[in-house]
């Protein structure tokens, strides 16, 4: 362990190396580190924002869905009501038509019966005359007994 001028040479080398590092090595590395730290911070902030946005969008979607469901329910109620109303109207109309038909049928039946009765009445007179002819075995003057026959006709 002898001391000599190596001491001073090493001293100079020490300062040169430190100066080179300070000038050319340290600043770019530290700059890159700082920039990366900034990038990471930005990235994290963006991720946070995206998370908030997502939560917001989800809430909005849920609200929309709820609104849609409500309006659908409303529509269904309206449709049901309308349907019921249409059915009621149809039923009333049908009842009305049936009643009218029945009335018409009854009227027609009444007329037919009347007509049949008329026809029958006509035939009864003839039959009665024929019967009477046969009973009496004698030709009866229809004209002479017209009043009698008319009376009989109205009695039927």
């Amino acid at each position: 362990m002898n001391l000599n001028a190596t001491l001073f040479a090493q001293l100079i080398v020490f300062f040169i190396l430190a100066w080179v590092t300070m000038q050319f090595v340290w600043p770019p590395i530290v700059k890159a580190l700082d920039e990366r730290a900034q990038k990471i911070a930005d990235g994290l902030a963006a991720a946070d924002k995206a998370k908030t946005d997502l939560a917001h969008a989800e809430k909005k979607a849920v609200d929309e869905l709820k609104k849609a469901r409500e309006s659908a329910a409303e529509l269904r109620v309206g449709a049901e009501k309308q349907g019921t109303q249409i059915v009621e109207e149809a039923r009333a109309e049908a009842a009305r038509i049936v009643a009218a038909a029945r009335e018409a049928a009854e009227a027609e039946a009444g007329v037919a019966a009347q007509r049949a009765r008329e026809a029958l009445r006509e035939q009864v007179a003839t039959l009665a005359v024929a019967g009477a002819e046969k009973i009496l075995r004698k030709e009866i003057n229809a004209q002479a007994h017209a009043d009698l026959l008319a009376q009989l006709k109205s009695e039927l």
Partner: protein
Amino acid sequence: MSNLTEAAANAAEHAEAAAAHGPSAGEYIVHHLTHFNTTGHAQTSIIDFSVINVDTLVWSIATGLLTILILALATRRATSGVPGRFQGFIELLVEMVADQAKGIIHSEESRKYVAPMALTVFVWVFLMNAMDFFPVDLIPAIWQGVSGDHHAYMRVVPTADLNATLGMSLGVLLLCLYYNIKIKGAGGWIHELFTAPFGSHPVLYPVNFAMQLIEFAAKTISHGMRLFGNMYAGELVFMLIALMGAAWGASGATGPLLFLGHVLAGSVWAIFHILIVVLQAFIFMMLALVYIGQAHEGH
């Protein structure tokens, strides 16, 4: 290594071995601990500033250039994007040093110089210490072959040379003085030299001043000596281990046992030395930061 009771065949082999490993154990150690300097022989006086250790300078400048090369490589690739493994490793170092500097030195302006200085010192001292991992005889043997002088001196661990470590600790001392004057002003610093640590009283001025001088000297010398002592001792142990392997041809079971001892002890010491190498580099850097930090604080 001479063995007179050997059989003839063994004796012949031993003569050969003795020729190859000519020097005795003591001579081997002394030879390995002698610097390749400008005089061509071992320095005789303790202090002689006309002499320069060429090996220390060459290896410390080589490792210094390697330091710059490694760091410059990382600088060239520095991006704020995703870092590779090498990039990540260097950034890890930079962040570690930056954090330590931030904790110790509170002046941002000073950190602009001191933090890069600490990084350089850490990597550089680590690389210089790591020269210990080359087999103790490898580089000296290559140098002896290249130079043609089979007796040439070559020491490869610059930090096992007191000149190198004291040179660096002197650098740190100069930085301390610089920051003392820069932060406190010349007047303020001189005032502190005479009034701290015991207080401002004319009677205490000489005592304070003496204390301050001792403090600066002790800091600087212990700073350099600590690194030197660790690395010198480490190198010496490697040499002693190498001596065991050199005696592998010894008679009976001694030779193979010594060889085995070399393998075992060499592995264990090398593995342990990894810790010492990193730790001493880290301690040297931390102390540099602490001393410069102290220069920023008034008493």
